[in-house]
């Protein structure tokens, strides 16, 4: 796995391949940055889900609930701090975004802990029940969001400092997208370091391969799983908050909508592989933006097509995880 660079090359290949089709280099740069930003936000939301599947074979169709809750919580905090959001100081803007994002992560993380206890734990090892019960959890969560925040969409505007674009000649790059890329790369680096350089990471990687053997070595895989589940939920909350700010609207359906992309990404990447999830997310983000520009009518299906192509090439995803 460590030596398999081929899937990584797909990203530059896709970028270079899109350039002549798009024609204008300025549009190409804008679309590419947009694609990377979208991909990295999806990566943030998907990374935890792929690990929880890898560790305990748990298919959590309710993951979108954490995304939605993150978006709503962050939106509420930002609306409450509206004066700081609209202030002309980047520090005041950040003083509003920081707590909003933190609150989103904490609430989603706590919700994840409860979700694991109440909904996932009773159905360990039973795939069909997992799908039914976690989907049910998502529906309940969506309805609860409507009860708490009302049925209407919340409009959210980005803080002053994150509006508009950086201009380089005739190339425009939205500021918010640059921030999304930066946050996504930080999350990826943190996850990669944790997985590759710490003992917990070693346990997670071993557990994804063969949890039973990790237990036979004397480690409690369930605890590890709960920890990963909570961190994954918190990251989903972070991603949801970022997505809400990206769309500048938040609705109760946001979770279910984004979750489709999240599932496509983890299937493309190979279930259980964070590296695969990263590559898959970038491919999905780029494809969505390029196709959205070139052929808006087929944009919706483009990610499904991408997934089908990847699976034709590697039926287990880009980075299949060695399983017991």
């Amino acid at each position: 796995m460590k030596r398999d660079w081929l899937p990584l090359l797909l990203i530059p290949a896709l970028m270079i391949g899109a350039l002549p089709l798009i024609g204008s280099p300025a549009s190409w740069v804008t679309l590419t940055v947009a694609g990377l930003a979208m991909g990295l936000m999806i990566f943030i939301m998907a990374s935890g889900l792929t690990l929880t599947f890898g560790l305990m074979d748990v298919l959590n169709f309710g993951h979108g609930a954490f995304i939605a809750v993150g978006a709503f919580v962050a939106a509420s905090v930002m609306l409450a701090l509206a004066p700081w959001m609209t202030a002309d100081s980047i520090w005041l803007n950040l003083a509003a975004i920081g707590p909003a994002v933190l609150a989103a992560m904490v609430v989603s993380g706590v919700l994840g802990l409860a979700f694991e206890r109440v909904i996932v734990r009773p159905v360990y090892g039973q795939h069909l029940k997992q799908i039914l019960v976690t989907t049910g959890g998502l529906i309940v969560a969506e309805q609860l969001l409507k009860v708490i925040w009302g049925p209407d969409q919340i409009t959210l505007s980005r803080p002053t400092a994150l509006r508009g674009a950086f201009l380089f000649g005739d190339v425009a790059i939205e500021k918010y997208r640059v921030l999304a890329v930066a946050v996504g790369l930080v999350v990826f680096a943190a996850l990669a370091l944790t997985l590759n350089r710490t003992r917990i990471g070693l346990l997670i990687r071993a557990g994804v391969e063969n949890g039973e053997m990790v237990e036979a070595l004397g480690y409690r895989i369930r605890r590890l799983f709960v920890g990963v589940f909570v961190v994954g939920s918190a990251l989903a909350g972070l991603g949801g908050a970022m997505w809400g700010l990206y769309q500048e609207t938040v609705t109760a359906a946001i979770g279910a909508q984004v979750a489709v992309l999240v599932f496509i990404v983890i299937i493309i990447g190979g279930l259980g592989s964070v590296g695969g999830c990263f590559v898959g997310a970038l491919l999905v983000g780029l494809t969505a933006n390029y196709i959205g520009f070139l052929a808006p009518k087929v944009a919706l299906g483009s990610n499904i097509l991408l997934m089908a192509l990847v699976l034709l090439w590697r039926p287990q995803g880009l980075y299949p995880v060695a399983k017991r």
Partner: protein, 241 residues
């Protein structure tokens, strides 16, 4: 007489709807090496997995060091000082050789002296120290699986077919290693198909047949009784064409 380190009484194990172990009973004396023999499908692997709690005994009792471990979770059983080398080896393919051993050493980084002792017997592990374990050859994986169990001192080693796929020179090294472990800190319960290896190494023997222990006793007596071997293992002249 001292209580055995490990004892099984009336152990019954079901896998799904199959009833595999029908009341397994045997003892493993402390400080010795007990060989668990038996034909293919006799239930040896199932017995080791049941001791580790990886299959659950539906009835009966498993005692280790004076305590009932029948219903303990697998990690707790391991933490009592029991290490397991599965028949499938179950090395972590995406982790390097080093990472496999670091993970197996629960109480801190692996002790260098002990690593040198392991390297002296399984030289390949030193050579491929930073290679993902999935790229090792079959025999090298087997060495790693054994090394993982002995990277720290453990009271009881459960080892399922350690010689599978190994060259004779490495088997000789393994015999040395097991003898040293037995004379020092560990008690061993080893499943083996290679009877020459088993008789060289075993102090005592338990022979399984169809989910039960059909014979338990000293290795010397069993090795001398070719009629019994023939009966329980199907060994002997007649079986080999």
């Amino acid at each position: 007489m001292a209580e055995p380190l490990l004892s099984l009484r009336g152990v019954q194990t079901h896998i799904g709807r199959y009833h595999i172990l029908h009341g397994v009973e045997f003892d493993v004396a402390e400080g010795g090496l007990t060989m668990l023999l038996g034909r293919n499908g006799a239930g040896k692997t199932t017995t080791l997995r049941t001791i580790m709690g990886m299959w659950r005994a539906a009835a009966g009792e498993i005692r280790f060091d004076g305590r009932d471990i029948t219903h303990l979770p697998t990690p707790d059983i391991a933490r009592l000082g029991i290490a397991y080398v599965p028949e499938s080896m179950a090395i972590f393919a995406d982790l390097t050789v080093q990472e496999n051993l670091v993970l197996a050493a629960r109480s801190g980084p692996p002790d260098q002296k002990r690593l040198d002792w392991i390297f002296a017997r399984f030289e390949a592990l030193k050579r491929f120290w930073t290679l993902p374990a999935g790229l090792l050859s079959g025999g090298q994986k087997q060495m790693l699986a054994v090394a993982r169990a002995i990277v720290e001192p453990r009271r009881l080693l459960l080892i399922d077919e350690p010689t599978k796929g190994l060259a004779p020179a490495i088997i000789a090294n393994m015999i040395d290693a097991f003898r040293e472990l037995k004379d020092g800190e560990s008690t061993l319960l080893v499943v083996e198909q290679n009877f020459a290896f088993a008789r060289q190494l075993g102090d005592s023997v338990a022979v399984m047949d169809d989910g039960r222990v059909a014979h338990q006793g000293g290795m010397a007596a069993f090795a001398a009784d070719s009629a019994l071997q023939q009966h329980l293992l199907g060994l002997g002249m007649g079986e080999h064409q």
